[in-house]
Amino acid sequence: MTVPTQRTQDRESTVTRRRVLALTSLFGLMGASVLAGLSNLLFFKPRVTYGEPSRFRVGTPESFPLGTRLPLARQRVTVVRTESGMAAISNTCTHLGCVIATTEAGFACPCHGSRFDADGVVLGGPAPRPLPWFKLELSPNGEVEIDTSTPVPTGTYLQV
């Protein structure tokens, strides 16, 4: 009777040690593969690209007198100052992405003839949607900051 007991104990202890190692390996490798899979999701998109920054400052409100309609070619946005305040309207046609021109009546796309009024609402042509407006805020140093990654509803003015 003594011998089998001994053997059983031996086997039990060996199994325990093996099991611990196996579980540790399993935990480590599974954890690592889960994190690796997660990183594919989390880090798939680059944090930043070499494009134009979406958040930029354009100067103090005083440098935009009443009635200003100033297109910024690089940032593709038109800075507007009216009696209601300041706004930033996209310069990119909602049809096929051409840079649109500022006209007396509003905006006109040279590519396919889309026309927009001063608020960017479609007046004619193939453009399917009005021009988006972007968020404007006053930065701590007194300049107006435009954030082209945050659209706001048409007619949202920054009071200055």
Binding site: E52, P53, R57, N141
Partner: protein, 590 residues
């Protein structure tokens, strides 16, 4: 195996954890969160506070396109408060940048002025840029070197260090060796036109402090500069970035095509004083110019000592106007081994310098020969006469070791006195005859022979030396001499006979440069013959007449060959002497 697998799997997991931690909790994210929190506390209204609270850390960047190559500056990712005036007292990286009118961050970025690696978002990489990054962030005092890339007006008052450095560049004679396009045209040292862009400023600074710091064979003399002066010079050199980034490439190309002038305008070197100096008498002009054009960076005169060139105090008793003018225009034409660069200055400046040096009264001569030796000889020959004076390493041939009995005791006293009085042409040994007089020179030679020379020399047997060349000069004789030379002499004197043979490295004093025209012209035929036939005791020159069994006729051929190298033979036959082949040695071919 199982244990190893378990350990490795845990390590792999831990590494994944580290990557996630680094990516999700980077330092810049902490800095931005702190900024949002602090700005939220002092926000003027609830809307701003809510906007700040909702903002997530993101990499901020400025793309600079208006100044040369496109730059991407992400400095504002950490330094997010640079244009928030409420943070002027905060700790870095959240401190406000001092406002500079007309310079918006959106247009100028950061690295245009500060240098550093703009794309990095880790402090160490962004500031120092790693070992190979050529533009680590500049110390505050050096930033003006980048300001002057656009503010190119001369003597711009906001760049005092650059202006001081430019003055030093001329005063310390840097311009005579180094080229900075549009400023100087020296060809002895490396071009410095783009040194500020190609070299790290700490390299330049270390190089100015000790020219051999990074290059043990550099021949650039070490300049005696204060720490501030070294900094000024380094800032000036940092400003040399190969043209202005505010100029169009075509304009820079056209500017680079300018012809190299024969000499530099004095105004550029002397500065605004030039007009005043021009009106002075020649000697006074020279006196004013000597410290400005760079003489003191090498030579000794009055209280100044550059520690490279000879003492100029005795010039008027050693040289004449013609010698000085030849020397100014091309120092190597009178001393072929001279390290003095040819000066890119107009003739009037040379005339003024000559007038000043020749018009000076030399300092009083001490009475005793020991004091005379210390004052006149020790600068080159060393205080103990061992040929190791402070400037000896800049002289070629190097000053004679006067303590070596084997040389000194085997030459006649008359020859030593003559060398002292007349100097040795083609070398830096100046004629001291007018300073010392016949008796003074003899006393000084006797002093050297008794007090400086150590031990007794060998006894010499009777020598038979022909007084003139037994072989008339002819092309055939030159060819025979050349064959002998390339068989027996080139190992030390070199295939070009310039004293740079393969054995020359280990020989002190170095083998004579036989292309030293002024020297060969200046010694008598009999002395050349004696040196070849009997050797020169106290040097490595063997008694070729006996060792190589050359008879007087063969030695005559050799000397004809040496004359032909220096244009001393009959001009018609000398012209036919072929240049020495550098690849094959006649007589050694099989």
């Amino acid at each position: 195996m199982r244990v190893a697998l378990a350990v490795i799997s845990v390590i792999v997991l831990a590494l994944h954890g580290v990557v996630f931690e680094n990516q999700l909790h980077a330092r810049w994210q902490e800095h931005q969160s702190e900024y949002f929190a602090q700005a939220g506390k002092i926000a003027p209204n609830e809307a701003v506070r809510a906007a700040l609270a909702s903002r997530k850390p993101a990499i901020e960047q400025v793309i600079v396109r208006s100044f040369g190559a496109e730059r991407v500056d992400r400095c504002t990712t950490c330094h997010i408060a640079v244009d928030d005036p409420r943070f002027s007292e905060a700790n870095q990286p959240l401190r406000t940048h001092p406002a500079i009118p007309g310079h918006k961050f959106e247009t100028f970025g950061c690295t245009l002025c500060h240098d550093g690696q703009g794309r990095a978002v880790q402090a160490k990489l962004a500031h120092e840029g790693g070992e190979d990054w050529p533009w680590p962030m500049l110390p505050k005092a050096m930033i003006e070197a980048n300001c002057v890339q656009c503010h190119t007006e001369p003597e711009w008052s906001h760049a005092p260090h650059v202006n001081a450095g430019r003055r030093l560049f001329f005063e310390r004679a840097c311009y005579t060796c180094h080229t900075i396009a549009g400023l100087s045209y020296g060809s002895i040292g490396p071009e410095l036109t783009e040194v500020g862009r190609k070299r790290r400023f700490d390299y330049v600074l270390a190089k100015i402090e000790n020219p051999r710091a990074s290059n043990p064979t550099s021949t650039m003399p070490r300049q005696d500069l204060t720490a501030e002066q070294r900094m000024d010079l380094a800032i000036f050199l940092k400003a040399q970035q190969g043209g202005s980034i505010s100029r169009a490439p075509l304009a820079q190309f056209v500017a680079g095509q300018q012809q190299r002038p024969e000499w530099l305008p004095v105004e550029r070197i002397v500065g605004p004083d030039a007009e005043r100096i021009r009106l002075l008498a020649p000697a006074a002009q020279g006196e004013a110019l000597v410290p400005k054009v760079g003489c003191f960076s090498c030579h000794k005169l009055d209280g100044h000592d550059g520690g490279v060139g000879p003492d100029l105090a005795y010039t008027n008793s050693q040289r004449d106007q013609a010698w000085l003018m030849r020397h100014f225009e091309d120092p190597k034409s009178v001393v072929p081994g001279s390290v003095m660069p040819p000066y890119p200055l107009p003739r009037e400046v040379f005339e003024a310098l000559s007038a000043y040096l020749l018009g000076r009264t030399p300092p009083a001569l001490p009475a005793g020969p020991a004091e005379q030796f210390a004052q006149l000889c020790s600068r080159c020959h060393g205080t103990a006469g061992k040929g190791d004076g402070v400037i000896a390493k800049y002289l070629d041939p190097q000053p004679r070791d006067l303590s070596k009995a084997a040389f000194m005791k085997t030459k006649t006293r008359d020859r030593l006195v003559a060398s002292l009085m007349n100097g040795v042409p083609g070398t830096s040994m100046a004629p001291w005859g007018h300073v010392l007089g016949q008796q003074g020179a003899e006393r000084l030679v006797d002093y050297v022979l008794t007090e400086v020379v150590k031990g007794a020399g060998p006894k010499l047997a009777h020598r038979e030396i022909p007084g003139h060349n037994p072989v008339p000069y002819s092309a055939a004789s030159v060819a025979r001499g050349q064959a002998t030379f390339l068989n027996r002499c080139w190992g030390c004197h070199g295939k070009k006979a310039d004293g740079h043979g393969p054995n020359a490295e280990d020989i002190v004093p170095r083998p004579r440069n036989l292309r030293n025209g002024p020297f060969v012209r200046g010694v008598a035929y009999s002395r050349l013959h004696e040196s070849i036939k009997y050797g020169v005791q106290g040097t490595a020159m063997p008694a070729a007449g006996f060792d190589f069994a050359l008879d007087d006729a063969a030695i005559g051929d050799l000397i004809n060959f040496i004359y032909s190298l220096n244009g001393l033979g009959e001009s018609a036959s000398a012209a036919k002497v072929a240049a020495i082949p550098s690849t094959s040695i006649p007589g050694n071919e099989r």
